[in-house]
Amino acid sequence: MMQYIRDWLWTYVWKPLPDMPLGAWTDELIRWLRLAWAPLFDGVETFLESLYFALADALLWLPSGLMILVFAAIAFVAKGWRLAAVVGVGMFVVAWTPYWDNTMATLAMVVVATVLATVLAIPIGILASENRAASAVMRPVLDFMQTLPAFVYLLPVVMLFGVGETPGIIATIIFCMPPGVRLTELGLRQVDREVVEAAQAFGSSPARTLLRVKLPLALPTVMAGLNQVIMLALSMVVIAGMVGGGGLGEDIVSALGRVDIAKGFNAGIAVVILAIFLDRVMQGLADRTPVAKAARLAH
């Protein structure tokens, strides 16, 4: 009897339904956007590419031998001589491989993507911390951005912007932004309520309370978020390489295609060294915020 009902439903109710057209709709939407909003997409593309190329050129302006010293100096200022030594040796290894130029290109891409992601993430995080409704709307959107496989949105992005650096940067921004927003919101919400009240009680305006009290107190958490943003951006370089993003990603993709272990290892180790450099420098900067210093003093 149950079998009969199941068969009947399958034959006369479910099968006659047309295929779900969600995918087709998205396809149409993207095609329409590409035509109707062409100036916007072209503008975005020009903007991102000019940023990227300017930075990549700047990083390659000095010979690798001097750049190694610059990186070591940054590490020294941010953290200390030990990190400076590690970074110096690491960068020296990279400069010894044939992938120095592509490493700088990848660094430029990561920096452009993280700076833009930060510029977007912090205001959104502030809005979400001040407004419960905004926070409730943002949460599923952020989950979506982080869990949707990159390949899924890479396709429409490539359709909109064509192959090259731009889709790589945009895909990276989409993927790496969520922790920036989340930790900005968290950091601001964790600020001692009494301290915020004190600012208000002394007649501080909302803008001043935000800039002079809440943000400085939230800064260590915000910086932890930015660190995650950078690491996620770095993890996207390979995928960006698949759509012509250049840099180490392209090397790794081509090494994969040709089973070129030597090339894959060289490019891979360059990514790791970049990651160590960026992570430790960010950590060093986070430890230097006044609030983090004061917190260390308390223990």
Binding site: E197, A199, Q200, G203, R208, P216, P290
Partner: protein
């Protein structure tokens, strides 16, 4: 003009707050409301504070005292009723005007100090002045004065994390004093401190008050503290259960709620010679040692024990007011005054004439 005046002030939290106020006005008790998703924190407050007065609001947690103090500077909006600061109705002010009022007239001291952890003591003290828009040199100068006032010289450049609780609260107090406002709101300011430090801070507050004569609203859950520093005390449990001086509360508690609180108070410190004396009754008092009417009872023990005659209580003009005997002291220190009176009169009847 009173410094602060509140009139039929209500604050109810939750949905349907206005309806709840109407109910409270019509005489529905607070407990009957709680089942309906609203919490009545402040119920029908009507009082005035004179300039230069220390007004203590005393109540247990959940009695609405923190809500009350936050309504006085507009951090929380009342559900109904009016609050006047120097005659200005807070409800009539725009957010901008309200902020100006806070900058110029009202400062606040917080239970957990609410200091900026990354700023030095001096910068924290200057915080209110920074908001007022003073330039750096001027505000650090004034902050330095305030730091001296609370006795923290030498600690100006330390961070709050390097200070003890009592010192942190001195910074909080200095921050409020530096803002140089007439009104000082103190929200459980000493509650987080050790008992000894707390007493020290109370003394310091009284000492400062004798010089500065601010209008102080002091919130506490500790009746001993309330009686030590308050010119008048409002005992609150949503509504004001009783409003009066420390002696009023001790000698004439309005109801069981107040009486229960006062049961634990060290009466000998609060009651004065005047409050415990008995009438002279026409006896010749010229040989009696004298005490002033305002001396607390705990300073009368020795003179009473060392004197064969009762002590004569005199006013400022040395005119006799009454006499203090060991019996009158013991009687006044016993808890339930009404019951004590009865028992005393019973005893008298039982004694053979």
């Amino acid at each position: 003009m009173p410094a602060i005046a509140v009139e039929s002030l209500y604050k109810v939290f939750g949905k349907g707050a206005k309806g709840a106020v109407a109910q409270l006005r019509s005489g529905v008790p607070r407990e009957a409301l709680n089942s309906r998703n609203v919490t009545a924190a402040v119920i029908d407050h009507n009082w005035e504070i004179a300039p230069g007065e220390i007004f203590v609001v005393m109540g247990l947690s959940g009695s609405g005292k923190s809500t009350l103090i936050r309504m006085l500077n507009g951090l929380i909006k009342p559900t109904a009723g009016t609050i006047r600061i120097d005659g200005v109705d807070l409800g009539s002010l725009s957010p901008r005007e309200l902020r100006r009022l806070r900058r110029e007239k009202i400062s606040m001291v917080f239970q957990h100090f609410a200091l900026l952890p990354h700023r030095s003591v001096l910068e924290n003290v200057a915080f209110g002045l920074e908001i007022k828009g003073l330039d750096k040199a001027a505000r650090l100068e004034r902050a330095r004065e305030a730091v001296q006032l609370v006795g923290l010289e030498g600690h100006e450049d330390k961070l709050p994390a390097q200070l003890s609780g009592g010192m942190k609260q001195r910074v909080g107090l200095a921050r409020a004093l530096a803002a140089d406002t007439e009104i000082l709101l103190m929200d459980e300011a000493f509650s987080a401190l050790d008992p000894l430090i707390r007493q020290e801070m109370q003394d310091q507050l009284l000492d400062l008050q004798s010089k500065l004569a601010k209008t102080i609203v002091f919130i506490t859950h500790d009746l001993n503290e309330a009686m030590r520093i308050g010119d008048r005390i409002a005992v609150c449990d949503g509504e004001v259960k009783q409003l009066g001086t420390a002696e009023d509360l001790l000698l004439h508690p309005a109801d069981d709620y107040v009486a229960e609180f006062t049961a634990d108070v060290d009466r000998s410190r609060v009651l004065t010679a005047e409050a415990v004396m008995e009438p002279c009754g026409g006896t010749d008092t010229s040989e009696f040692p004298t005490v002033e009417s305002g001396v607390p009872v705990n300073e009368l023990y020795e003179p009473v024990l060392n004197s064969k005659a009762p002590l004569l209580v005199v006013d400022d003009n040395d005119d006799p007011l009454g006499v203090v005997t060991p019996r009158s002291i013991i009687k006044s220190l016993a808890h339930e005054p009404a019951a004590d009176d009865e028992r005393a009169s019973d005893d008298e009847e039982a004694l053979p004439a």
